[in-house]
Subunit: 335 residues, 2 copies
Amino acid sequence: MTKVTIREVAAEAGVSVATVSRALRGLPSVSPATRARVEQVAANLEYVPDPYASRLASSRAHTILVAVPVPGQWYYAQVVTGVEAVASDAGSDLQLHVVGDDAQRRRFIEDILPGSRRVDGAILVDIPLSPADAAELTGRGVRIVAVGQHTEGVVSVGIDNRQAATDATQLLLELGHTRIGLLGGMPTGRSDLSIPGMREIGFRDALEAAGLRVDEDLITNGNFSIDGGDDAATHLLSLREPPTALFALSDEMAVGAMGAARRLGIDVPGQLCIVGFDGHEFSGAIGLTTVRQPVVELGASAAQALLDAVNGKPWNEDKVLAHELVERDTTGRRG
Amino acid sequence: MTKVTIREVAAEAGVSVATVSRALRGLPSVSPATRARVEQVAANLEYVPDPYASRLASSRAHTILVAVPVPGQWYYAQVVTGVEAVASDAGSDLQLHVVGDDAQRRRFIEDILPGSRRVDGAILVDIPLSPADAAELTGRGVRIVAVGQHTEGVVSVGIDNRQAATDATQLLLELGHTRIGLLGGMPTGRSDLSIPGMREIGFRDALEAAGLRVDEDLITNGNFSIDGGDDAATHLLSLREPPTALFALSDEMAVGAMGAARRLGIDVPGQLCIVGFDGHEFSGAIGLTTVRQPVVELGASAAQALLDAVNGKPWNEDKVLAHELVERDTTGRRG
DNA sequence: CTGTTAGCGCATTCAT
DNA sequence: ATGAATGCGCTAACAG
C-alpha cells in the first residue's frame, strides 16, 4: 500500500539516501558490510526504486523505444520480440510505438522522438526517415538505429535484400522458368533505398544476368498483404501469357498467391512455382519456398547496437545478417 | 540540443510555470488570450514536456503496460495491436513486457507491477494470476485487466471459449465424424479456468451431447505451436484407429496438423477434416476452417477497460465478445 | 484567472 | 567509504 521510498530504506538501514542509492546500484564505493545491510533492508521493505524519479534525476531512461508500421504483422512482431529480449536482459523497458501512416510518422518524428531523455534511444523498423530528419534528431541527441530501411547517417541492421532477391529469382531460373511474376509493393520514396526497391532490383539483376528481358507487365503491387498477393496473383494468372512462376516479396503475398492458385485450380508447383520472402512461421507447414531472414536476431542486434551506443560504444557501420533460401514444395523440382 | 523546459516557456510568455502547465494541458482556469500566447510560445520554442517529470509530479503515468507470454505469436501480436490503438488514442504510451516462463512471471508480479505509479495499469494477456496475487496487487493500487485468462477479482475480456469449442466440435459431428482428435495444450494450473481447459470442456460437452464417449487417447498436447501440432497429429494419425477429424485449439497447431497430413499423404478434407481456432490471418488463404475470435478488439476492449478504470469508471463485469465459426476447405462438406 | 510555495523520489556533486 | 546539499522538470495546493 505505502510506496516505500529510498528515504525509509536509508533510515531503517541507518545510512544516508546517497549510500542506499549507491549500494543498490552496485556502485564501487560502498563497503561490503554496508551494502549487504542496505540490500537486506531494501528486500525486507520490498523497496522498488521509482523509475520516473531516477530517470528524472539521471540522464538514462532505461527505456528503449521501438517503432513499427504494423505491430500485428509477423515480421514486425518477430523483430519486436528480438528487441524485447535484449532490452529486458539489459534491464530496460520496451516502449512500443506504431507509425503507420504519414501523419503518425510526422508526429512521431517531431513530437515523440525529440523528447530527448524520454528514452535511451529508438529503433525504427521500416520507418522512412529523411537524412535531414535523421541529422536533426541525432543532433538533438536522440540515438537511433534502423532495421531494414536504411537511412544516411543512421546505423542500420538488415540483410542484403538485393542479393537475397537475386538468390530467390535464380532458383526459379534454374528450374527453367522464364516468365516470372513479381509480387512487390508500395514504392514509397526513393525505391532504390527501400526494402521493396532493393528486392526488385535484385530480381531484375537475376533476370538480366540470365539474359532475359524484364516484362514490366509481370511486376505487380501486392501491397505486402495476403489479399494484395491474392489479387496480384489472380491478375497475373489471368494474362494471355501468364507467368509460370511467382516471386513474392513477402510470405504473406506468397500465401495470398497460393490461395489464388488454389481457387483457380492451378496446381502448385505443377503449373506454378512460388517463392516467398521472410521465412514466416507458417512457411514450413504449408511447404512454401522462401528466403528466410533472421527476424528475431534483426531486432536483437538493433537493440544491442542501441545499448552499445548508450554505453559510449556506437557502431561505426551497418550490420548485415545472413539470409537463407529455403527450398520447399512450392518450387518442387519439376519432374 | 537544448532541452527546452517549462520555465523558459514561462519566461518567454511572461507568465508563471504553473500557468504554462495549465494552459498546455487544457485546464479550465486559463484565459483564452493567455492560453493562446502560451501555446504560441511553446510551439516556437518547440517545447515538449518531459513525461518523467510530469509522471513524478502527478499520479498518472500515461503509460499502460501489456504483458504477453510470446509477443511474436500471432494472437498476442494482434491483441497488442488493439491495446496500442486505444492507448495511443488516449495519449498513453505502451510498455510491452514478456512474461513467458514462471520465473519471469514471479519477477513481473513481484517487482514490476507493484511499482505503483510506474504505469496507469496493466493488461495481462494469458498470464496466470492467483486470486491471492490479484488481491495483493489491486490492494496496492495496481489496476489490472485480464485478456483471455480469467482470474477472480480481476475484470477480464474474452470470448466464450467453452461455447466456441462446442460449436467447432459440433460442426465436425454434423459432418459425420465420430472419432475426433483434439490438439490441445499445457494445462497449467486449474484447467477448468484456463483457456485450453475451457475449450477442452466445450469439446467434451459437444461429444457428450451427441451421445459419444470421449476417447482419452485422442486428446493430445500440441503445445499451441506448429511443430507441436504436427507431432500430435502425426501421432494421432498413426494410431490403429486414427481419428477422421482433428480439432486444434489454435490455428498454429491446425497448420502443423495440415503439414503432417500432407507429409503422410492424407487428403484434407477427403480423409481428414481439420478445424482450428483463432482466425489466424493465414487461415483464409490456406482454406482452414476455424473459430475466429475478435483478437484486435480483445486488446482494444481491455485497454478501454483500463482507461475507464483510471478515469474512475471501473467495469463491474467481464466482457464477452462474440466468436464466429468460419467454415472453409478443411471441413469441405463431404460429398 | 494567475503567481508562490512545496514537494514528487532519486542521482549527484562536493565535502568529509 | 559516507553524508549533506542541490536540482532534474513538472504538478499541485494555496493564496491572491
